[in-house]
C-alpha cells in the first residue's frame, strides 16, 4: 500500500508546489494521474519514486514510513519501483540491451538470466533487431520502448510512467497500455501521468486529479452502452 498523508513539497524557500496531498493507493491498483500543466504532476511522481523527500507530511511505501527508513532500506524500496521518465533518461553510451539490463545488474542478477530476460522483453517490445544499437540512433518511439522495457524488466511492485504514450502511434500506445494492464493484473501497482483523455476513457481506471497542489480522487465513469447513450439523448 502507498499512502500520502498531508504531504507538502516546496523547492527551497519558494511556494508549496504540493500542499496537503492526501491519498492511498491499494496494492495492485491502477491510477491515472492527470491535471493541468504546472499542477505538480512531475513533483508528485518524484515523491512516488523517492527522488525527493516531502517538506512535510508522511509518505508510506509498501507499508513503511519512508521518513524513518535508513538509506539502505530506501535503496531496496527504489529497486521495487519502475519509472518511465518523460524524457526517457536513457544512457546514451550504452546499447539498448545494456540500458534495459541495467536494473537487473543493479539488483545483482546473473548475466545468463539477464541475457534471457532482456532478449525476451526486447522481442516483446519489438526491439529484437536493435539490441546493440545506441539510444541516440533509435527513433523517439523506439527510445520510449527501451525506457519502458527498462522500467518493467524487474517486474516492479510499483510502476510509474510519465506520459508513456506521448511518442507512440495509436497501435503502439494501445499495445503498451495492454502491457501495463498485464503487469497490473500480476499485482503491480500502476500510476500513469497523462494528458491523453482518449486513453483514459479507453482504460477506465481511477484518476488522481491534481490541481493547485492538491489531489482529488476520481472513480472511473461507468461504461455507457448504446442503450444508455440513446436514453441519454432522449
Amino acid at each position: 500500500m502507498i499512502k500520502f498523508e498531508h504531504v507538502g513539497l516546496r523547492y527551497g524557500v519558494g511556494p508549496e508546489i504540493l500542499s496537503d496531498v492526501h491519498f492511498t493507493l491499494e496494492p495492485g491498483s491502477f491510477h491515472f494521474l492527470s491535471g493541468p500543466s504546472g499542477a505538480g504532476k512531475t513533483s508528485l511522481m518524484s515523491l512516488l519514486y523517492l527522488g525527493r523527500h516531502p517538506t512535510r507530511g508522511l509518505v508510506s511505501m509498501f507499508g513503511q514510513n519512508t521518513g524513518q527508513l535508513s538509506r539502505e532500506q530506501l535503496t531496496k524500496i527504489r529497486q521495487s519501483i519502475g519509472v518511465v521518465f518523460q524524457d526517457f533518461r536513457l544512457l546514451n553510451h550504452m546499447s539498448a540491451f545494456d540500458n534495459i539490463a541495467l536494473p537487473l545488474r543493479i539488483i545483482g542478477q546473473s548475466e545468463k538470466e539477464i541475457k534471457e530476460n532482456v532478449n525476451e522483453l526486447m522481442e516483446w517490445v519489438g526491439l529484437g533487431d536493435h539490441r546493440q544499437m545506441l539510444p541516440n540512433t533509435l527513433s523517439g518511439g523506439q527510445q520510449q520502448r527501451v525506457a519502458i522495457a527498462r522500467a518493467v524488466i524487474t517486474r516492479p511492485r510499483l510502476l510509474l510512467a510519465d506520459e508513456p504514450t506521448g511518442n507512440l502511434d495509436d497501435e503502439s500506445g494501445l499495445r503498451l497500455m495492454n502491457l501495463f494492464d498485464q503487469l497490473n493484473r500480476m499485482g503491480t501497482t500502476v500510476v500513469i501521468a497523462s494528458h491523453n483523455t482518449a486513453l483514459m476513457e479507453r482504460f477506465p481506471h481511477k484518476k488522481l486529479l491534481l490541481d493547485k497542489g492538491q489531489v482529488l480522487l476520481e472513480e472511473p465513469a461507468p461504461k455507457t452502452g448504446l442503450r444508455e447513450k440513446i436514453m441519454g439523448r432522449l
Binding site: 519514486y49 525527493r52 550504452m94
Partner: protein, 314 residues
C-alpha cells in the same frame, strides 16, 4: 554480481568496445588530465624521495666514517710557545702510543706519516722546498672499539696527564652540525613528498568531483533505480585506480630515468662528496611501490569523494 563480471581477460588497461561502466567514464577528456596529473605527482615524489635517500646515504657514510674515531695532534710547540725538537716530539709521540696501546677502549691507532701530513696541508701551504723545512705536528688517528663505550672526558684527562700539549679532536662538533643540516634536508624532502601526496589527494578529489558534476544526471538515474552507493562508487574508484596506476607508472619510469642521468652526470663530474646513488633493497622497494601507493591513495580518495557526494542525494 558485479557489473564487471561478464568481461573475461581484462587487464589493467581499459579495453575498447566493451561495456565496463554504467557511466561514460572512458569517453571524457578528464582521462588524460588525471593520468598526466598523477604522472607528474609521481615524478615529483620520486625525485623528492631520491633526494631524501641520497641525504640518508651521505649522512650514514659520514657518520659511520667518523664514528668511534678521533685524531690526536701533538703540536710542534709547547704551552709556552717554544718549538719542540724532533727528539722531544718523538718522545711525546711514543708516550702517547704507549698510552693508546694499553687503553682498553682503543681498537687501533696509526701515526700519520710526514708525507701524508704534507699532502693534507699542501693545499694551504703549498709544496715548495721551503715548506719542507717547516716543522709539522704529529697526528695519530685513533679508532675506538665500536661497543667500547669510551668515556671521552676521562680519556682526554688521561691523555693530558701523559702528554699535556696533545690535543684531541673527536670530530663531534663539526660532524654534529653537518648531520643536523643533512637531517633537516632529509626531513624536508620527506615533508615535500608528503605535500605531494596531499596535493595528489586534493587533485584527485577535485577531478572526481568534476566528473560527478558532469555525470550528475546518470548518477541520479542509477540512484533512483536503486543502485547502492557502493555499486556506484566501485565504478568510479576502479576507473580512478586504473588511470592513476597508469599515470604513476609513467611518472615513475621518467623519474628513474632522470635519477640515472643525474647519477651518471655526477659520476662523470667526479663529485666525491655525494655518494653514488645506489639504492638499498628497502629504498628500491619504496621507489617501485610508488605506482601502487599513488594508485591506492587515488582510489581511496575517489571512493570517499563519491560516497560523500552520493550521501547528499535523498
Amino acid at each position: 554480481m558485479s557489473p564487471f563480471a561478464k568481461h573475461k581477460g581484462r587487464s589493467l588497461g581499459i579495453q575498447k568496445n566493451q561495456r565496463q561502466y554504467d557511466l561514460p567514464l572512458n569517453k571524457d577528456s578528464g582521462v588524460l588530465f588525471l593520468k598526466t596529473l598523477v604522472a607528474l605527482m609521481s615524478l615529483l615524489a620520486i625525485l623528492a624521495l631520491a633526494g631524501s635517500f641520497a641525504l640518508s646515504e651521505m649522512t650514514n657514510r659520514w657518520s659511520s666514517g667518523l664514528e668511534n674515531k678521533a685524531s690526536i695532534e701533538i703540536p710542534v710547540e709547547d704551552s709556552q710557545g717554544v718549538i719542540l725538537s724532533n727528539e722531544q716530539m718523538q718522545r711525546v709521540t711514543d708516550t702517547t702510543q704507549e698510552f693508546l696501546s694499553k687503553h682498553p677502549a682503543v681498537e687501533q691507532y696509526d701515526v700519520m706519516s710526514e708525507e701524508k701530513i704534507m699532502e693534507l696541508v699542501a693545499p694551504w701551504l703549498g709544496d715548495s722546498p721551503t715548506m719542507q723545512s717547516i716543522p709539522l705536528p704529529k697526528i695519530i688517528s685513533v679508532s675506538f672499539k665500536p661497543k667500547g663505550n669510551v668515556d671521552m672526558e676521562q680519556f682526554k684527562l688521561q691523555l693530558q696527564n701523559i702528554a699535556p700539549q696533545a690535543r684531541i679532536d673527536t670530530h663531534e662538533s663539526w660532524l654534529a652540525d653537518i648531520l643536523r643540516f643533512t637531517g633537516a634536508l632529509k626531513y624536508t624532502a620527506v615533508l615535500i613528498t608528503m605535500i605531494i601526496g596531499f596535493t595528489t589527494i586534493i587533485a584527485v578529489a577535485g577531478a572526481v568531483k568534476s566528473r560527478m558534476a558532469i555525470y550528475n544526471e546518470e548518477l541520479e538515474l542509477l540512484h533512483l533505480m536503486g543502485a547502492e552507493d557502493q555499486y556506484i562508487s566501485k565504478q568510479l574508484q576502479r576507473h580512478t585506480l586504473i588511470l592513476s596506476f597508469q599515470g604513476a607508472v609513467v611518472g615513475t619510469i621518467i623519474g628513474i630515468i632522470i635519477l640515472l642521468i643525474i647519477n651518471w652526470g655526477a659520476g662523470r663530474m667526479d663529485i666525491t662528496l655525494i655518494p653514488d646513488f645506489s639504492l638499498n633493497f628497502v629504498q628500491k622497494a619504496v621507489i617501485f611501490l610508488i605506482p601502487a601507493i599513488v594508485a591506492g591513495i587515488s582510489m581511496v580518495t575517489a571512493r570517499q569523494t563519491v560516497l560523500r557526494n552520493l550521501a547528499k542525494m535523498p
